[in-house]
């Protein structure tokens, strides 16, 4: 028997179970630099704030029509969709049939790194690419096409999607996915929580759930509102400089899509806060929360629970608590903003805290992105070497060598600790600046060109500084 202290002493989260290398904590000087820069940037941001809104309109200019014709045609769509379906099948197959060693099996790296993190980066750069590769959408479209061929009309959705649910199903879905990775999947002492087999089963279950929901509410509706991956990546795609409108690809001002993405749709804010909260939990669970988690573990173990149950119950509690904490910080800031407008503005009834929260939510998408980059940048760089090296040629980990790259491992020398640190601090600082800019722009729109806009922004600023400082603090902690 092993004591629970040993058990909790070396928690490895899934991402870290994959890698043979973890990031070093930020050195003190870089932490101080980052913190000082946050303050300087904030005050300069206020000093040089613009007077006209830059992002209220969303100018969009189409690219030459041959570009759209080349990229957005049925052939490309079919090829991308087929590739997506093939890869979904490969995840299930390698998960069920392949090795149980998480780092040697195609499924875990592909789902949690290549897709989950890779498409965030691709979406921000190139727009909503996931839509093209989404295997569930491809299957639904193929099935719908078949139905039309036989019945002569498109299948009508069985139910009307209740609009008040908004993006809540997606927010819950993203929360569940990250919970699977970080809480359910944590491996304790000699107990691997998340096996490739679990990933395959979860993929099948999620696929079944998605098909049922698409059949009930119509596939396009569900992809816009409920399908967790589509909604999650479309959130990051809203920052991109490229957008498809009416089947034409066009350029727009980067970041200008964010506020339209949030719109008046319920649950959008929840998704943003879940995203920030999940990354915060991943960082904090090994640092500042390691000791409290250990206490809860001990307490639960004393109550007679088994090792994995202990890890999962305490993990779930802290996961929920961290998301709650992030939401509370956000809500406190918005409430402060509300007091500013309520005191002086005749529109106090119109600008309730809830409405303000909805109208300023989009400014936090860049912060969610910055958190992801700061925490997982090195993981992506290292694991993609595995993905396109040995995992490509040997997806099951059974010794095959399909493309002759089975011997290509990960070169951990590709990124120095210094390079990783600079990317981390740089991501947080740029995210902070962009968030401030979007917040200021929205304040101008909401309050007009008045002192109120600036005063309301002090609360916004306090919130942004809190989140950026929290991000820096998480990175500067040594793993425990």
């Amino acid at each position: 028997m092993h004591s629970i202290a040993e058990l909790g002493g070396d928690l490895l989260l899934v991402g870290h179970a994959l890698v043979g290398r973890q990031d070093l904590p930020l050195p003190e000087w870089l932490f101080i630099y980052g913190a000082v820069m946050v303050l300087i940037v904030s005050f300069v941001g206020i000093a040089i704030a613009w007077r006209r809104t830059l992002f209220a309109q969303q100018p969009w200019r189409p690219l030459p029509s041959w570009v759209s014709a080349a990229l957005l045609n049925p052939v490309v769509e079919a090829v991308c969709g087929a590739l997506g379906v093939f890869l979904l099948g490969l995840v299930v197959w390698s998960g069920l049939e392949g090795t149980e060693a998480p780092d040697r099996n195609f499924s875990i790296v592909f789902v949690f790194v290549t897709v989950w993190l890779g498409f965030v980066i691709l979406s921000v750069l190139f727009g909503d690419l996931f839509r093209a590769f989404n295997p569930w959408r491809a299957i639904a479209r193929a099935a719908g096409g078949m139905f039309k061929l036989v019945a002569g009309q498109s299948p009508p959705p069985a139910l009307r999607y209740p609009e008040r649910f908004g993006r809540w199903p997606a927010a819950v879905g993203v929360g569940a996915f990250v919970w699977l990775e970080l809480v359910y999947g944590q491996s304790g002492f000699q107990a691997v929580g998340l096996t490739p087999h679990t990933v395959a089963v979860a993929t099948l279950a999620y696929s079944a759930y998605t098909f049922v929901a698409m059949a009930l509410f119509g596939s396009e509706k569900w992809l816009e509102r409920g399908e967790a991956f589509s909604v999650y990546f479309s959130m990051f795609a809203s920052l991109a400089p490229l957008e498809v409108r009416e089947r034409r690809l066009g350029r727009r001002r980067p970041l200008s899509g964010a506020s339209a993405w949030v719109g008046a749709i319920p649950g959008s804010l929840a998704l943003i806060l879940v995203t920030i909260g999940a990354t915060t939990y991943d960082g904090a669970a090994e640092g500042v929360l390691a000791t409290p988690i250990q206490s809860v573990n001990d307490w639960l173990a004393d109550a007679g629970l088994g090792p994995l149950a202990v890890l999962r119950i305490s993990g779930s509690l802290f996961f929920a608590a961290v998301i709650g904490f992030v939401a509370a910080v956000f809500w406190a800031g918005i409430s402060g903003m509300h007091t500013v407008s309520a005191a002086a503005d005749e529109r106090r009834d119109e600008l309730t805290t809830g409405r303000l929260a909805q109208r300023f939510a989009h400014a936090f998408i860049p912060i969610a992105l910055a958190y992801l980059l700061a925490h997982y940048f090195s993981l992506v760089v290292f694991q993609e070497q595995a993905q396109f090296g040995y995992l490509l040629s040997d997806p099951l980990g059974d010794g095959s060598d399909i493309f002759g790259t089975a011997a290509n491992g990960i070169d951990y020398g590709t990124l120095s600790a210094n390079a990783i640190w600079y990317v981390q601090v740089g991501a947080l600082l740029v995210g902070h600046m962009v968030a401030l800019g979007l917040g200021h722009d929205r304040a101008l729109e909401v309050y007009g060109d008045s002192k109120l806009a600036t005063r309301s922004q002090y609360w916004m600023l306090a919130m942004m500084i809190s989140f950026t400082a929290l991000g820096l603090a998480l990175l500067s902690q040594a793993n425990q």
């Binding site: 043979g20 290398r21 070093l24 870089l30 101080i32 630099y33 491992g409 120095s416 600790a417 210094n418």
Partner: protein, 149 residues
């Protein structure tokens, strides 16, 4: 504020950011030579007069840490070892069971026979935090930190 003034403020900020970066980064590098200088001076004064603590000025001999494995478990839990880039990662694993010791990241695997030991001596070229584990049972035995210079 005019557009030119705004540009000037933004430009100055960028310059300040750069200067601050190098000033702070330099600060971090300084303590190392400073500490060395201090150690040498204490050694000198220790040689001249009587020093109450003779153990302090000794330039610590590179002691090799030994990780003992009993019943497939590291005695005293996961050992934390720290090295600097450019040094050698050195440690000894003494085990009462046969197995393979895997130093992750560097991907060095060494066999150890039951009741025997194996010594790792690997150039510390990659920075980061790495794990050493008993490969067959996946039991972590050491966490190795390599700090950049």
């Amino acid at each position: 504020m005019s557009a030119t003034a705004k540009l000037a403020v933004a430009g100055l900020t960028v310059v300040a950011a750069g200067v601050l970066f190098f000033v702070l980064q330099g600060d971090e590098d300084q303590p190392q030579p400073a500490a060395v200088a201090q150690t040498t001076s204490t050694t000198d004064s220790g040689g001249d007069g009587q020093k109450p603590e003779p153990d302090k000025p000794k330039p610590e001999p590179p002691e090799v840490a030994t990780i003992e494995i009993e019943g497939g478990q590291p005695v005293g839990g996961v050992e934390e070892l720290s090295f600097s880039e450019g040094e050698a990662i050195r440690f000894v694993v003494e085990s009462d069971v046969a197995g393979h010791v895997h130093l992750h990241g560097y991907d060095v695997i060494q066999d150890v026979a039951a009741g025997d030991s194996t010594e790792f001596d690997v150039p510390a070229t990659i920075t980061g935090v790495f794990e050493a584990e008993l490969e067959d049972s996946a039991v972590p035995i050491a966490e190795i930190t390599v700090e950049p210079n």
